[in-house]
Assembly symmetry: C2
DNA sequence: GGTATTTAATTTATCACATGAATTAAATAA
DNA sequence: TTATTTAATTCATGTGATAAATTAAATACC
């Protein structure tokens, strides 16, 4: 048999069509051809194949597309039930499961409260297997087969080895979490940093879809970052790149959760802000090492109301963040820097000293045309991004296999 | 005519063969097939085309390849005279021209002493045009046609716009230097940062050829860096990425040549080291703002002989460099960091505090398996790398055109 | 209402190109 | 001298994208 040389072309084009449909929703074949720089003959051929395999469906033409001259467009769209994916977000004291359909929509979610810091590796893996298995069984009827699983974890992870290297949510270190799941479930299983998931969600936004070099900074309990290079997430040599939170503000500075000193996370993360604030200010009592949203908002309100100590804490944080962003600009020079995460609640308090620090740090030529903006935070963003990443893996499978294979469940 | 769909495959494969031949020297067709994952039928086809067009030549089989059974290999190699490229290295008070042959070998070089800081844009461009024109004329007989020109400049350049944004060698700012040359010479003209050129030279070294994510730090009069991502130089949004020298060590720190304070360049570049040293130590007099190699070596010798002030200066520099490298590791997590440039002369003096700073700054998990090494410095490295970059542009042209086009010279 | 026009989608013929298999080439081993 | 081994070439084949031609389905115009 002739080897599949040009096969990769067909595969690439098929994936491109699927991704266009997922990004834009239902589209006509002509438009798919234009967007993907293909001839309409090729689109017809590929979409015919996908229709036959049940990956896409033809939409009855809606009246809004009429009114022009000429033959009306017939839209095609992904079949939402062609496959589904399961995502798991592991954060401190919480494990969140979601199911996404083939269009990338959230189909189901539930959250479990778990004492994550007390978990052994075996217990964690057992918990995941049990719950994923249960979800698969219950939902096999309504959704398509489970085509992919994506785990999102805050901290340092190695997507390549499939292991959690270090996470604030666990006492565990270097846990291979992917292999056991892969052995149990016959579908791609991937592990990703939560910031990478969020950037996957953000790059679905039309405003940021076509920005090739993008840095997404995530402020929250910790500080994360994801870097997109040429439209692709950059994972570094061993999967743990973009640890923005652990770049240095000063040697021998404030103590960081990682155990070292002077990391910018030690100045701008929730735990750092509250650590500095709670002894000096009238704030809600509670676990000050893991401040709740209410506690953080109380702190922000103090600053908004002009409390000088609170103002000073955010001034310092803005300065540290600006200096850190300056380093990102100098080293990566992205088109756009986005700041998101629950920490954006204090952005107005941070902004003046942040801008000042950035301008003090870098000559105009190095700031260049890089834009800086905030991106509204939503606690489902991580999961939505994880669904995107899981679907990307599912697509590959779906396209390369002659027909989508179901998940054997026991 | 049918559009060139699969054309790109042929082009890619042809480029791959040319690059294999340039990297490894003469090779047999079978080996080219194995290295590039192609069938030997394809290699025969492509090499036949290249032979016909005079891009490659068949080598008489050397006796060393005999002795085995079977039909002996017939080696093919790039014709060194298939084309040549001109490179120009612009540095302070010096303009260096080189000619490289199609194999990437240095064929000719000359250096002009020029008061670069006094040059106007017009004078600079005129100087370049005159000299390149002269070179082309004189060498048209011995070399092939000039297929590409590459300019290497220290400082912030925009390869995309083809302009020098900021350079310590010039008083000029934002000079479009590529357009006039492109208008004058009918061949690709590109502009690159000198650190990017050096990384192009280093990635020809067998030890570093297959490292996908590589950071090359260049210590010298200034501090530069080049980042290779997935084997490709990363240029950032506007071409001026990897300004490692202007990442921050501390707010309101030492004054940097860029005008800002606290850049790591302001602690570890030649001018910074000598600035701190020359008032306190018995050092050769001369332009202390632009110390010569002799001056710098005198300073290093003092440290080697145990002079405490000199030792302290290098200790501090090592600490700053280590902290800076920590940020590169945290953000970028490359497989390998290489330190090169004339500044490696003091590496032994820097190393202890550098290692200390790196270990103080980052947890083991973030240092990961990234290796740190020095790469011996050679003042022709920039030019050799520029030749590589110029050839890359020339290859594209050579492959896409039906036949190589000569450079119309007047 | 019938015809022309316009745009979308499909079909068909064509061409480029990588490949496996078969063949030829050129050496050594027996 | 013949068999064996390895390299290179030739040839038939299949894949796949495309332009051009064709068909489909609407609106515009008279």
């Amino acid at each position: 048999m002739v080897a599949p040389v040009t096969d990769s072309i067909r595969t690439d084009n098929t994936l491109a069509l699927i991704r266009s449909l997922r990004a834009h929703g239902a589209m006509a074949r002509v438009d798919l051809a234009a967007v993907n720089q293909l001839s309409s003959a090729t689109v017809t051929s590929i979409s015919g194949e996908l229709l036959e395999r049940g990956v896409i469906v033809e939409r009855p033409l809606s009246t809004q597309h009429l009114g022009h001259r000429g033959r009306p467009k017939t839209l095609i769209a992904l079949d939402p039930d062609a496959a589904c994916v399961i995502t798991v977000k592991l954060s401190i004291n919480e494990v969140r499961f979601t199911i996404g359909n083939f269009c990338g929509e959230l189909h189901y979610s539930d959250t479990q409260t778990v004492d994550t810091l007390a978990l052994t590796a075996e217990a964690l893996i057992e918990l995941l297997i049990q719950h994923i298995d249960g979800l698969s069984r219950r939902l096999a009827a309504t959704c398509g087969p489970v085509a992919s699983i994506c785990l999102a974890v805050q901290g340092i992870v190695s997507p390549v080895r499939g292991s959690i290297v270090w996470s604030p949510a666990f006492a565990l270190r270097n846990v291979d979490i992917v292999s056991p799941l892969r052995a149990r479930f016959a579908c791609p299983v991937q592990l990703d940093n939560d910031a990478n998931c969020i950037s996957a969600a953000i790059t679905r936004h039309p405003d940021y879809m076509d920005i090739p070099n993008l840095a997404v900074i995530m402020l929250g309990y910790g500080v994360g970052m994801a870097i997109m290079i040429d439209g692709k997430p950059y994972l570094g040599a061993h999967g743990s790149s973009a640890e923005f939170g652990h770049t240095k503000y000063e040697s021998n500075g404030a103590l960081c959760a990682c155990g070292k000193r002077g990391c910018i996370e030690a100045y701008i993360s929730d735990y750092a802000l509250y650590r500095d604030a709670h002894t000096l200010l009238p704030l809600p009592t509670g676990d000050s090492a893991h401040p709740s949203e209410e506690q953080m908002q109380a702190l922000v309100r103090l600053a908004e109301n002009g409390n000088p100590v609170a103002r000073q804490i955010f001034d310092k944080a803005g300065h540290v963040l600006g200096t850190g962003i300056a380093n990102v600009l100098a080293l990566f020079n992205p088109d756009q820097v986005l700041i998101t995460g629950s920490g954006v609640r204090a952005y107005e308090q941070l902004k003046p000293s942040l801008d000042q620090a950035l301008n003090d740090a870098l000559v105009e030529e190095l700031i260049g045309q890089t834009r800086l903006a905030i991106y509204g935070w939503d606690h489902d963003m991580t999961c939505m991004g994880a669904i995107q990443l899981a679907l990307k893996a599912a697509d590959h499978r779906l396209v390369q296999a002659d027909r989508p294979s179901a998940l054997p469940l026991s």
